[in-house]
């Protein structure tokens, strides 16, 4: 009888502590968000809603330090895949020369940029592409010989288009921006980038 009573007390106490801890962490989260929102001001094209997160970014932030559970990763990928409007004409390759210019340009979406001008993709900031460009970053994988290695097939071209349009569709919590989904690059620009990766004449495949 006495031990039952003790167990009950311990259980209630544990529940209390757990719920208080949960409430505290919840309020710490809210407080951090409030501080962040109060610490930025809109400027040019960069409004305060840029601090807001969709489901994918909220989850990727939550799991920034630990691997995201597989089922959640699959959810993010499936939901983002649905957002990709693949080109109606079924053509994925544009002009690789225009693609090279887009890959070199880091202009766009900053508060100091004029939103009337087209954005670049800044691919070289993170990826190796044309080996003649020595100034490339290593945040992303090397894309040198992208088509040559993977084959010049329509399936790979479609994948490249989709990946640039919405990287979260293929690899949840990838560091790569969703260039089409977030309206940084147009369909034509993405096709030009696909050509840079997939055209046998592109210096990427030499």
């Amino acid at each position: 009888m006495k031990s039952n009573y003790l167990i009950a007390v311990v259980v209630i106490f544990t529940l209390l502590v757990a719920s208080t801890a949960h409430a505290q962490s919840k309020s710490a989260e809210d407080r951090a968000t409030a501080v962040m929102k109060a610490s930025f001001k809109e400027r040019g094209q960069a409004k305060l809603d840029r601090l807001d997160q969709d489901k994918a970014m909220a989850l990727c932030t939550k799991y920034a330090l630990t691997p995201i559970p597989k089922n959640l990763a699959k959810e993010i990928e499936a939901e983002n895949l649905k957002t990709i409007p693949f080109p109606k004409d079924g053509k994925y390759l544009g002009d690789w020369k225009a693609g090279e210019r887009i890959a070199q340009s880091g202009v766009g979406r900053q508060f100091s940029d004029n939103p009337a001008n087209p954005s670049g993709g800044n691919c070289y900031a993170c990826h190796k592409l044309d080996p003649k460009e020595l100034s490339y970053g290593t945040i992303g994988v090397s894309l040198y010989q992208f088509g040559k290695i993977r084959s010049y097939s329509p399936e790979i071209a479609k994948y490249a288009y989709g990946k640039i349009y919405n990287a979260q569709a293929y690899s949840a919590c990838s560091n790569m921006p969703r260039f089409g989904h977030n309206q940084t690059l147009t369909e034509t620009q993405i096709k030009d980038l696909v050509a840079l990766l997939m055209d046998p004449d592109s210096p990427v495949n030499k």
Binding site: A32, T33, F40, R50, L51, R109, N122, Y170, N175
Partner: protein
Amino acid sequence: MNHTLIGFLCVAPATIAVALTLSMIGPAEAQTPAPAKSAATAPPVKKAPAAAASAASSDATVRAIEKYREALADGNPADLWEARGEGIWKQKRGPKNMTLEKCDLGLGEGVVKGAYAQLPKYFGDTDKVEDLESRLVTCMVLLQGFSYEQARRAPFGSPDNKPAMEALVAYVTANSRGVKMNVSLKHPKEKEAFEIGKKIFFHRGGPHDFSCATCHAQDNIRIRLQDLPNLTKQEPAQRAYTAWPAYRVSQGELRSFQWRLFDCFRQQRFPELEFTSQGSVALTTYLARNANGGVFSAPSIKR
């Protein structure tokens, strides 16, 4: 605007031939191995053949950049900011016509030596955690009688604006050269600032889905040719944090740590980080604390 990525060849006869694009330019798209790679749609990738060769040439590039940095460091114009800052510190200014010599930067009234190495910290008079810049604003307001707006106005230098703030920052920080970083989290508000700063560091947002961590939470990565310190790890965090403020050769200005954060968020495609805002101090607390134990060595010189 350097985000178009200036790739320039810097050739010093027979010694250094450095292909340089040292731009802290717009963080761009990245595609790191994600924790869960489960997409059925991603086609398989054959092994890239030239990986080893490319790693070797990349090492050579990194060494060449190091040499270029050493060459730059010979004669740092930050001295000019430090001297001007010392003058401003000791100059009677503001409605109260007072100097800053009674300003308490955390080690007592007027103590400048070593003060920066223990900032940000909690200050009882404002009941806030303050970094150097926000503390200087407090002293300008309380001691010199400036309004809060006056003290925070146009804090970043440009060809037609040479603010007192950056000069003061140069003077105070130079007085911590050789001192070990020692940021305390004893006060609950210091601990809270650290935790909020950490949250801001990992918060993904904006049109590019970037957070600070996109570029600064992995080892041995570069944006273009600029190496990116992993600011979540002690050794690289120490190396990075203790090298700010810096005289920026490409801009001809001395840049404070507040400027560093301001400009990172611009490239992150976020709205404007407000000068000395609570979030900026929180993020600084997180980064400075991660650098604890590192020997402070700024103002430095950077490309």
